[in-house]
């Protein structure tokens, strides 16, 4: 028995699967007490398998094994999720079920995190540092009842670490990475330094501070850098250099019935964008050139305060209140750079865009004193103050200053009919100063069959609020008429998911296999798209006109055997778009295949873990309008080629597990550009023939030391 416990403990602690870490099966979970607890969408923190929602967990171990510094480093191994990096802005967005980051919400400790363009949505994944993260929880599907607007395709909830084992814990680390094949100490590679100090002041109080510096020097690729003097498109960088600093502080109080914490974060970032277009400024008289270029430096700053109180009232009822003030601001410094002399001329500093938010959510749970019935009621308030300069949108003529105030109330309940069957209905009413009141609903249920099969059905809805571009674009001149529409209403997202899973054990409990089968349907109605509102004179405006549908199925299996653990997943997603905004469209479902797998092998004696992660993104299809030979506009099925992303790492613990050494290879298959015919050209731009998705094979080494006393 003792041996079994030991094995189970290992499996529990070092569960390798990146895809999804499920805790041990119900009855064994009881034995060893190592059940994984999740909070996303829960009334009370729950074990993963008790959760009515299907929560995927990326644990700290996986983050460490990939030496992931920010969210973009880790999510590209997730099934269904695509990371869309933008080499020309340095940002990375997320795409899930064919919907972009406007439909996806990112939360930190259950509250939405601010970005340049939204609260929770439109996040730049590279700006979200993972150093103090305990685990990442992912829920696919619309979560409007739990998390409000813009949680259409799903949510990520980042849970930060709020305790330490010893009285003092000081953790410095350095991480050195190549960027593709570029690396040196001066102007190439990625250099990360970090230090974290955690202190248990007494039984009740805990405090932690950390600082991280991430110096991404950019990738030259074919480009020649800042001081290149030719106008042949080779000036600048293929991937923009970016320097990030992150400072975090936490104070936590814990007593028998109350926990409270205050978290403060300061983040700043500097991205340099060098124009590839060089003006030679020829002087025909002297026969000289004085090349100049228009460059930009973007400076972003984010401030994040979060106060949370979680306490018991009247012995049983739970009160949980989070209040947060957050601000993110992006400034731009535009200037002319004289390449020969290095002078900066005509410097203009402006605010590019910003968001400021006051957020509060509170709820009371276990309100009614029944064993089988839970009720949670709550409010959510967010006051978002946004600014967008005309520089942030080439088709916007005036700066925009706008307040969006949301006042939501919600109630969810859980009824446990039996040990096997529970349901969870929920409803949220969303009131705002900009839109008509909206409603989000959800209904989830879980059924445990006699043979151990768990079945879950989750239905949810969530609206997406229109973006500033959609609301405030105004580009009218002698040749053009393109306008936003301030009367847009939010899009409506709705999703249904069905999951089946079961755990199989071998007789000696050495082998555990846990397959899961999922099906889903997701649709977005009233989808906002630019459409022709008048053919002659030609005028465009954003309207609630289109419809989006996605269907899919996935099969994932996790496997554990002795010191080997792994995971394999396969998913097929079909997307159909009804584009009433265009003259002709094809709403056939276009299917894309994704597969991922990872395997890791531990040698406990040596403190060594080796892992390989692989994800295959199959070809993606999209209908695009093209001119045929007879100069007619026709719809063709464009294709973006498939590609595989593989990461591998070795991790070794030394000096009584105090020194942690990780060496690894990102993008083993050396992917950078992927051919595509799935992008439409514009009136002034030809369609690109390839997409830049990664920067080639890179190597990293991370050295972390833990002082504990």
């Amino acid at each position: 028995m003792k041996r079994l416990r030991l094995i189970l403990a290992f499996i529990g602690v070092l569960n390798i699967s990146a895809q999804e870490k499920d805790s041990l099966d119900f009855k064994f979970g009881e034995i060893n007490g190592l059940e994984e607890v999740v909070v996303t969408g829960q009334i009370n923190p729950q074990s993963v398998n008790k959760s009515v929602f299907e929560v995927k967990v990326i644990n700290r171990e996986t983050i460490d094994r990939l030496a992931a510094n920010n969210l973009a480093d880790i999510l590209n191994q997730q099934l269904n999720i695509n990371i869309i990096p933008n080499a020309s802005t340095g940002k990375s967005g997320v795409q899930l079920f064919g919907l972009d980051s406007q439909y996806f919400k990112i939360l930190v400790d259950n509250i939405p995190l601010i970005s340049d363009e939204g609260l929770g949505n439109n996040a730049d994944l590279t700006q979200i540092n993972l150093d103090d993260i305990e685990r990442i929880e992912i829920v696919e599907g619309s979560m409007g009842v739990q998390y409000g607007a813009n949680a259409v395709s799903g949510i990520i909830n980042i849970i930060t670490k709020k305790d330490a084992q010893s009285e003092w814990q000081i953790t410095p680390y350095v991480q050195e990475e190549t960027i593709g094949d570029e690396y040196n100490f001066e102007d190439e590679g990625r250099h990360i330094q970090s230090v974290k100090v955690a202190h248990n002041i007494n039984d009740n109080w805990f405090a932690q501070i950390s600082a991280t510096r991430n110096d991404f020097k950019g990738r030259f690729g074919e480009k020649q850098g800042q001081n290149y003097q030719q106008n042949d498109g080779l000036r600048g960088y293929e991937w923009l250099p970016k320097l990030q600093n992150n400072y975090k502080a936490l104070v936590r109080f814990k007593s028998k019935n109350t926990t409270a914490f205050y978290k403060l974060e300061w983040f700043d970032e500097r991205v340099k964008r060098y124009s590839e277009s060089v003006r030679l400024n020829e002087n025909s008289s002297t026969g000289t050139i004085n090349p100049t270029a228009s460059d930009d430096i973007f400076k972003s700053g984010r401030m994040f305060h979060h106060f949370n109180l979680n306490t018991k009232l009247f012995e049983k009822t739970n009160l949980n209140i989070s209040t947060s003030f957050q601000e993110q601001k992006r400034d731009v410094e535009e200037f002319t750079y004289r390449i020969k002399t290095g002078e900066k001329l005509n410097i203009r500093k402006n605010e590019f865009e910003s968001r400021q938010a006051i957020f509060s959510r509170g709820n009371l749970s276990n309100l009614l004193n029944f064993e089988k019935f839970d009720l949670q009621v709550g409010y959510e308030l967010n006051l978002i103050d946004g600014f967008a300069s005309p520089m942030s949108n080439p088709l916007q003529s005036d700066p925009v200053d706008r307040k969006l105030n949301n006042y939501d109330v919600f109630a969810t309940s859980k009824y446990q009919f039996s040990d096997k069957f529970s349901i969870r209905p929920g409803v949220r009413a969303l009131f705002s100063n900009q839109f008509d009141p909206l409603m989000a609903v959800s209904l989830s249920s879980k059924y445990l069959f006699n043979d151990g099969v768990e079945a879950r059905a989750v239905v949810g809805s969530s609206p997406r609020t229109p973006s500033y571009d959609e609301l405030f674009t105004y580009f009218v001149d002698v040749n053009h008429d393109v306008r936003g529409n301030e009367n847009l209403k939010p899009e409506q997202g709705f999703s249904t998911f069905i999951h089946f899973k079961k755990t199989f054990w071998s007789d000696d409990y050495k082998l555990k296999i846990k397959p899961k089968l999922s099906f889903w349907y997701l649709n977005v109605s009233d989808r906002i798209e630019l459409t022709i509102v008048n053919p002659s004179p030609l005028a465009y405006q954003f309207s609630n006109i289109d419809k989006f549908q996605s269907i899919g199925t996935s099969m994932t299996t996790s496997l554990e055997y002795k010191n080997i653990s792994g995971n394999i997943g396969l998913s097929l997603t079909g997307v159909s778009k009804v584009l009433d905004s265009q003259d002709n469209f094809n709403d056939d479902f276009l299917y894309g295949l994704q597969a991922n797998s990872n395997i890791s092998y531990r040698i406990p004696k040596w403190g060594l873990t080796s892992s390989v992660f692989f994800k295959y993104n199959g070809p993606q299809y999209q209908f695009v309008q093209q001119q045929n030979e007879a100069d007619e506009t026709v719809l063709t099925r464009g294709k973006q080629d498939g590609f595989g992303l593989m990461d591998a790492s070795f991790r070794k613990r030394l000096i009584k597990n105090k020194l942690d050494l990780t060496f690894g290879i990102r993008n083993v298959l050396d992917v950078d550009r992927v051919n595509t015919t799935a992008v439409e050209g514009g009136a002034h731009d030809a369609a690109p023939s390839s997409l830049l998705l990664a920067y080639g094979r890179s190597y990293f080494i991370k050295l972390l030391y833990q002082f504990k006393f």
């Binding site: 000081i170 410095p172 350095v174 050195e176 100490f185 001066e186 102007d187 250099h191 330094q193 230090v195 510096r213 110096d215 800042q226 001081n227 106008n231 320097l243 277009s277 003006r279 030679l280 400024n281 020829e282 002087n283 025909s284 008289s285 002297t286 026969g287 000289t288 004085n290 100049t292 228009s294 002319t336 004289r338 390449i339 020969k340 002399t341 290095g342 001329l345 005509n346 005309p390 520089m391 080439p394 088709l395 001149d477 002698v478 040749n479 053009h480 008048n534 053919p535 002659s536 004179p537 030609l538 100069d631 020194l659 514009g682 009136a683 002034h684 731009d685 050295l703 030391y705 002082f707």
Partner: protein
């Protein structure tokens, strides 16, 4: 103790890696001094010219330079003098720190007898300034016999991102003249035909109505037409409402003025847009300001003269102006607001004009262009483009000129000298081609554009150089 050591090591490593060198700046280059142009020419009317010398970068200290000359059949003090005064065949020009050039004047004292060659060749022989050299146009040939300029560098004053000016350039005379493009509305042809041209630089458009009484038209009558009679509606049929972009005088939007005035219909006139006033982002243009509104017009013939009637749409009375046909120039120009004729290019000889322009996009109809270059079709100026990949500008000479390629279409240069931009990219100079132009005196020039913007990327500051091939 061991802890401490490792801590120190790690901290040192962190410190080492954190040392971030700032971007290193390239070294300052030398200052090159040159004549602005390699040659210039006095016409019979000119008696004084200012000669500019330019520096490749502003002077960093006070300095001076010395110019001397050798002459052909020209004697200092008899045929010409210079200011500042010269001694011993040379003179000194002083400059201050920050100056970007210096200049001197040449006075022509007498016109040469026809048939004799009179010229002076000036050379920069010395520059007194740190890091300065003489380069590029190290000498200047001044001709006193009125020959066409052999070369030149011109920076037409288009006037920045609103592009307020139409600039008329004469290559042989090495000069340019800027005129506000909103100065006129309609141009009345002075040649054989009775034709009237719109000011396409303001994106005007016009449609013939079924009426000969100008007072009978009201805004209600034309309401349904107004959406269509405009530039940039993306309706291919709107080409009927603008003049042929080719410059063919017989394809104006307004029909030829008929001899029988009963056949001359009233026209609905869209006055286009005023010159923009806002300052756009560098790289963009803001050509059009507010719409200038609508007029109704009718043009009649009175013997060899034109009569123009014009009024606001709902006016029951109209203004009238008579435009005589002298035949001295290509056009007489009318400004409707002042009901008068105005001076535009009447007394200017020109080869190319920088202007905003109403062009056609095949399949999409009329479209407003910026940075357009028009060759003077009515004065028989023609041009064509040559790709650098065929032959380099520097190597191109008179033997390479192909007579069949010259196009009279006034868009022979057009917008071909720049790369069109889009919502996310600004237009840029197209470096891979140059142009060959033949003027009305059969002078053949090669032309190479050297700038679309100023050094900050602000639009509306073009530059080009040219050289005579024959």
């Amino acid at each position: 103790m061991k802890h401490l050591k490792i801590t120190l090591q790690i901290l040192l490593l962190v410190l080492f890696i954190s040392c971030d060198s700032d971007d290193d700046n390239p070294a300052q280059s030398e200052m090159v001094v040159a004549f602005e142009n390699a040659s210039t020419s006095f016409s019979a009317e000119d008696d004084r010219k200012t000669i500019n010398l330019v520096f490749s970068s502003p002077a960093t200290e006070n300095g001076s330079l010395i110019v001397d000359w050798n002459s052909t059949n020209s004697v200092y003090g008899e045929d010409f003098t210079v200011i500042p005064e010269a001694t011993n065949n040379s003179f000194t020009l002083e400059f201050n720190a920050g100056d970007e050039g210096v200049s001197f004047d040449i006075n022509k004292l007498q016109n040469p007898i026809e048939g004799t060659q009179k010229s002076v060749n000036f050379d920069i022989i010395e520059v007194n300034h740190r890091n300065a050299i003489v380069g590029g146009n190290t000498s200047l040939n001044v001709d006193f016999t009125g020959a066409a300029a052999a070369s030149g560098n011109i920076s037409p004053e288009v006037g920045g991102p609103n592009q307020p000016n139409q600039v008329y350039v004469d290559l042989s005379g090495q000069n340019s003249t800027a005129i506000n493009r909103a100065a006129w509305d309609l141009a009345f042809y002075q040649g054989e035909e009775f034709r009237v041209k719109l000011n396409g630089s303001l994106f005007m458009a016009t449609a013939e109505l079924d009426e000969t009484d100008i007072t009978a038209i009201t805004s209600q009558d034309v309401a349904s037409l107004q959406g269509q009679v405009a530039v940039g509606t993306f309706n291919p049929s709107n080409m009927a409402y603008v003049d042929a972009p080719s410059g063919e005088i017989n394809e104006t939007a307004i029909a030829e003025i008929a001899n029988n005035n009963e056949d001359n219909k009233v026209y609905l006139l869209n006055l286009g847009n005023s010159v923009g006033t806002e300052t756009p982002q560098p790289g963009s243009v803001e050509l059009s300001g507010e719409p200038r509104g609508w007029k109704k017009i009718r043009i009649l013939k009175d013997g060899i003269n034109y009569i123009l009637q014009h009024a606001d749409l709902d006016a029951t009375e109209f203004e009238e102006i008579s435009i005589s046909k002298s035949g001295n120039n290509a056009f007489e120009y009318v400004n409707l607001a002042s009901n008068s004729t105005v001076e535009v290019d009447q007394n200017i000889q020109w080869d190319i004009e920088f202007t905003t322009f109403t062009n056609e996009i095949e399949g999409a109809g009329s479209y407003g262009y910026s940075d357009f270059v028009v060759n003077n079709r009515l004065a028989n100026v023609s041009a064509y483009a040559v790709e650098n990949s065929e032959i380099e500008y520097a190597d191109y000479n008179i033997e390479d000129v192909s007579d069949e390629e010259f196009s009279l279409d006034q868009r022979a240069i057009g917008s071909n000298w720049r790369v069109g931009g889009g919502p996310n990219s600004s237009p840029t100079l197209k470096q891979e081609l140059f142009f060959v132009l033949k003027d009305s005196d059969e002078n053949i020039y090669k032309i190479r554009f050297t700038a679309l913007t100023d050094e900050n990327g602000v639009r509306g500051f073009p530059k080009f150089e040219y050289e005579k091939l024959n």
